[in-house]
Amino acid sequence: MFDVRVSPAAFDLAAEHARLAAVGPAVGAIVSFTGQVRDHRLMLEHWPGVAERRIGQLVNDARGRWPLLGAIVVHRFGTLDVGDPIVLVLTASSHRAAAFDAASFLMDGLKTGAPFWKRSADGWVEETAADDAAAARWRQAPSAGHDGVRRSG
C-alpha cells in the first residue's frame, strides 16, 4: 500500500497508521514522522501535479533501496498556523531499520526535492545548508541500511 497525497486538509495519523498496519502479516515495523509548523504561521505554495509526481518518485526510489511493504506521504499546502501538522511520512517494513531509514530518506528528499515553497510574515523561507547536506548524504551512500545489505524491490 503506497499512497501520496498533496492537500490543504489536515491528516489523521491514527487512520493512516491503521492503513499500513492492515497491509499484512509481514509488517513488523511502522515508522511515522509528523512535521508541524514552528515559530511562525506559514503559507505553502506548491506546483500542482508535479509535487505529487515528485513525491511519488521519492517513494519509488525508497522502494528500490529498502524492502518496504507500504508507505504513505501526505504534504499540506495553503496557510498553516503554528503547531499545525504540515507533513506526514509513514513507512512499513518487516524490520525497523528499513522503515526508519526509508522515512528519513523520504523526509530529506521532501525538504529540498519536492516543489513546495514556504513563506512567513518575514518573507520567503530560504533553503538551509543543513537540509541540502541531509539530502546529499543519501546520494553518497547507495544504501544507509543498518545491516549493510543492499536490497531491491
Binding site: W47, A51, V87, L110, K111, T112, P115, F116
Partner: protein
C-alpha cells in the same frame, strides 16, 4: 514558442504566473535570460542572480545549460523548501 512558468518569489517579482517567449530554434536556458530581463524591472529583479534559481524543463529538474526546444515548458523558481 516556449512556455514559462514561475513560482514563489520569482512569480511575485515578475508579476505573472506564466508567459510565453518566441523561439524558433533550440537554445540554452541561459541564452533566453537577456530577453526576459528586458521585459520589465520585475523580470530583471527576479533573474538578477541565476545561482539563486532552480529550473525544470517539461517538469523535470534541469540546469541553465539545458537546451530548450520550441514547445518546451520552462519553470523557474527558488530552491524548494518543503517538508
Amino acid at each position: 514558442m516556449l512556455r514559462l512558468v514561475y513560482f514563489a518569489w520569482v512569480r511575485e517579482r515578475i508579476g505573472v504566473e506564466g508567459e510565453t517567449l518566441a523561439i524558433d530554434a533550440p537554445m540554452r536556458a541561459s541564452a533566453i535570460v537577456p530577453q526576459l530581463i528586458a521585459r520589465s524591472d520585475g523580470h530583471a529583479a527576479a533573474l538578477a542572480d541565476l545561482s539563486r534559481l532552480r529550473l525544470a524543463v517539461n517538469e523535470d529538474m534541469a540546469g541553465w545549460d539545458t537546451l530548450l526546444a520550441p514547445g518546451d515548458e520552462l519553470a523557474i523558481f527558488p530552491p524548494m523548501t518543503g517538508g
